[in-house]
Symmetry: C2
Subunit: 372 residues, 2 copies
Amino acid sequence: MNSRRDFLQKLTASLIILNLPGQVSAYAATSGLNTQTYDGPPLRVAIMGLGSYGSRVAEAMQACKKAKIVGVISGTPSKISTWQSKYNIPAKNCYNYENFDDIKNNPDIDAVYVITPNALHRDQVIRVAKAGKHVICEKPMGLNAKECEEMIDACKKANVKLLVGYRMHFEPNTVEIINQRSRGEFGRILSFEGGTGFPIGDPTQWRLNKALAGGGSLMDVGIYAVNGARYMVGQEPVWVTAQETKTNPAKFKEGVDETIQFQLGFPNGAIASCVTSYNISLDRFVLNGDKGFAELRPAFGYGPIKARTNKGELSFPHVMHQTTQMDEMAGIILGNNKPVFPVDGEEGLKDLKVIDAIYLAVKTGKKVPLSL
Amino acid sequence: MNSRRDFLQKLTASLIILNLPGQVSAYAATSGLNTQTYDGPPLRVAIMGLGSYGSRVAEAMQACKKAKIVGVISGTPSKISTWQSKYNIPAKNCYNYENFDDIKNNPDIDAVYVITPNALHRDQVIRVAKAGKHVICEKPMGLNAKECEEMIDACKKANVKLLVGYRMHFEPNTVEIINQRSRGEFGRILSFEGGTGFPIGDPTQWRLNKALAGGGSLMDVGIYAVNGARYMVGQEPVWVTAQETKTNPAKFKEGVDETIQFQLGFPNGAIASCVTSYNISLDRFVLNGDKGFAELRPAFGYGPIKARTNKGELSFPHVMHQTTQMDEMAGIILGNNKPVFPVDGEEGLKDLKVIDAIYLAVKTGKKVPLSL
């Protein structure tokens, strides 16, 4: 029983009907966020890792106008054949983890979306880059900042683009709040509160395996609060403190965090108070300025994000996040578009620098200075 | 310009009309919280300290059925005469700070409500106790745990009751949430979030004077989050961490905290994440259990407290908190009633033990163990 999947499905069950091509243009028409259009050919994507999130991305991509699944990379032949028939993928675009370097000889694939366990990202992204393909890497980009730097270097060297799967950066309510904050509508930013958590199920899943996940809830969902603090406040944190609490050490073994509270300080004195947990249901961001506030609640689930400010509720229609993300990423990769908040490797690196500092603060019990 | 008063008045301006005797019984009838009735004579109260909060208490007491203002203690003769005519107080029940020990010879006063700057509480409460009168002391009970212990000892010795002005302990939404949590309706308690803050005005007020206030926002409003964490979670914290942020050291001088984030850990592994501030508008408590949640928002302002749980919104009619508080305290003092959550000196002491630990954690940067 995978309660993570249950959690995600509960959030989206009633929304799949909205995941139609027509809704994408509705989003573009009503949000006013997409001032950049991309009119070139679609981004031809191979998905690496055909697990539950890879499947979600693939389903959402059926509604994309500018991105298309054309290939797969998997270690499981039966999954490959299922995907081949489901998404009409030719055999020549199917790879396994041994031979995917050959993708360099495949002119029909533009980019690879790496959706594998965290610990595999670094090597796989570097191999994709060496194969000359653009890379989208699911978050967290790597296990730590050092890995991210190596990935960035490899992609620069190979002259390919590297994006991180930050779907919230394309979610219209979120983007609208970022824009309002940028325009100063909340005044001077004073504080952020972020809660990200859910009671995780199956104790045997890779997310609870330190060797594959590199950590626990912080790596999986806490990163949304780290990232959210940065895009909501609009500054980079300069210090971190953090406290870990573990109530079930049998399930959450050494190195796999169950619950972490962390606090960030920003250059103007703004503060962030965050909780991430594999035990507590939490899904809320709040931004407080001296002239107003914004609340996203839910803030990071797959279902409709709900936003309100001191002026009232926002009402953007829900679109599957991954649909918008992949259409927008096509424009970024092939059209050189710029998102409202970056989604590149440098962005992934910054989050991992904060995460490194959070784990260090937990370990030492001390305030850790940061310089992003 | 006192923006604290503005803040409080904004919260209550439209509600004073509700502050009628009839509403008190409406509260009792609909809340189902007051199973204990008190039918004896009213509690005859002298108010010590005729500042803005003393005035608020006095106005609210006009709607009390079981408590009555009969006396005043003040250092300002003009205030005394105003109160005398407003509340029909005889000259023989008026005292100043030099002669109020004589209250021991006044059979027409049962109790003194001490509503003076924090630093004066200890000596004034001890003097009232020595005069043989029951004492209600406004929060924070003292400047630190040591003072509270001395006050408790003095009241025990004098055989008088000592209560602390915890108005939220009688607020029907709050009490209903406490009762629901006690009945296990939220399951195992996992976390609490508490935000208490407002942008404070006049920099010359006593609340921003270390010698009179003993601190800053933590002493004034952070105590609501400390207290709230304890009554919402229903356990006593076993550790504290805390971080202070100061953006305006000219206004918030040495020893006067502007903003403090603090975290508490509880015996069952539940955690609290709190922010208190004299700079940020914050007024919200959230309790998360493994079977449900409760939210109070606003949670501590004078205006109507709004509560909702996973089952929906609560709808108790608003009654001025101080009206209910004083009627209930009459029953506690004269009728030996027990409130749902204690309001005695031991209760005040526990909050100051947590506050002492928060200030120590700020100073040392370390996790401070607690044993209440």
